[in-house]
Symmetry: C2
Subunit: 229 residues, 2 copies
């Protein structure tokens, strides 16, 4: 479902060029469950943003379900994101002036489904139940703990039941037990056929996935299946 | 140096009351190195904000270096924060329109020290070197990875050489090796006499400290020294 062919990304900051991704080639098949690990600054989020159609590579090709994503204009990319992809951002990116439930409803509004407000409300509530936050549905992000904000971001990524779930450090602010609960949710979704790619820096969390990809300085240095999974 | 006496904090959200902290009594002596752990939503950040003089308790007393903090007005509190405390926020709280170096210089500007711009620049650069980010000093937060932003927040908390360092999940976005480097920095500072209280959800990180306090539903349930430290 994901085919990265010699992907490169260079940022230009003032006079300096930062080569964040320097030639990554990777294939991820439908139903896979991949952990992406690597040092701070090694290019993981940059790669995730390209895979999530949030950013364009500077070089190389990205095929999503066989379509060359570089051929698509901004509206097509937005459609793909809304139809196929759920994204959990490393910094959550919640809207601060709306409640947790409204934040979770947002991706459904972008899809122009003919759903009633009541149906949206219910779907959002169920997504919040999945992450144990139904009792915080009316709180605004500033009225939530760090780990609760992270879980709202996860619920929002799941609410459209995307075929591809991309999660950037989804357990970075969660205690061990809550992290294990979230990984349980991810394993369930993966068993239902959802392809999952997640960045994590914790080996204990990576162990819940089926394949570990390690990045270092913008390239992939290791790509191996997880033992006995 | 820190004496919490039956501290309580209740938030009022609409019609609902959230009892975030429900009676915490704790004493932390100068030079201690304490990890605060506990489930997401258990009240850790709320407690840290009270200890860091960023928020007032709803009940109970907080003595910092023998002074009853509830007696102080907002200007006195601000002075205490600038003179004695370095705070690493769970959400970083960096200023997005200024560079990493300028973000790190900020606490020094609040102190009205008679320092030249060049001295501030140097001190900030050295703080960034401590967290391995000197080469990103001119980047703005949006041009930094999540872990790099976190390290800028850490450098900013250290730049005034505070007597008390409070860190809320300082390694949540860092890979294992960078986390170990940061914990090494913290251990060095602690050996020099700085009192450190840090929230973490990772037991492997808590092991670098000397005392583990566990919170659950707004109260402290465990408070024990770390074996062989
Ligand atoms: N401004 C607020 N208004 C209402 N409730 C709040 C507010 N801030 C925090 N809370 C609630 O208080 C409780 C404790 O929050 P706190 O941020 O202290 O948790 P935490 O232990 O730091 O969690 P995490 O590990 O997820 O960061 C949570 O249930 C949260 O929903
Ligand atoms: N907009 C930008 N402009 C310039 N440089 C950038 C920009 N965004 C990221 N970078 C740089 O690109 C490199 C890779 O960043 P990226 O966010 O992909 O790292 P990461 O692996 O996700 O790190 P972390 O684990 O800390 O989140 C970093 O060195 C960062 O400083
Ligand atoms: Mg990142
Ligand atoms: Mg917190």
């Amino acid at each position: 479902v994901i085919k990265l062919d010699d992907i490169r990304k260079t940022y230009h900051t003032g006079e300096v060029e930062v080569h964040a991704v320097r030639g990554v080639s990777l294939e991820i098949l439908p139903g896979e469950f991949v952990a992406v690990m690597g040092a701070s600054g090694s290019g993981k989020s940059t790669l995730m943003n390209i895979v999530g159609c949030l950013d364009r590579p500077t070089g190389g090709r990205y095929f999503l379900d066989g379509t060359d994503v570089s051929e698509l204009d901004r509206d097509d990319l937005a459609d793909i994101r809304n139809q196929k992809i759920g994204f959990v951002f490393q910094g959550f990116n919640l809207l601060s002036r709306t409640s947790a439930r409204e934040n979770v409803e947002m991706p459904m509004l972008y899809r122009h489904d003919q759903r009633s407000a009541r149906e949206l409300h219910e779907k959002a509530t169920r997504a919040l139940e999945t992450v144990n936050l139904a009792d915080r549905a009316d709180h605004h992000p500033s009225q939530l703990s760090g780990g609760q904000q992270q879980r709202v971001a996860i619920a929002r990524a799941l609410v459209n039941q995307p075929a591809l779930l991309l999660a950037d450090e989804p357990t970075g602010n969660l205690d061990s037990r809550t992290s294990i609960e979230i990984m349980g949710v991810f394993q369930q979704l993966n068993a239902q056929g959802i392809t999952i790619v997640m960045v994590t820096h914790e080996p204990d969390i990576a162990r819940f996935t089926k394949r570990n990809v390690v990045m270092s300085d913008g390239v992939v240095t290791t790509d191996a299946p997880v033992a006995d999974r």
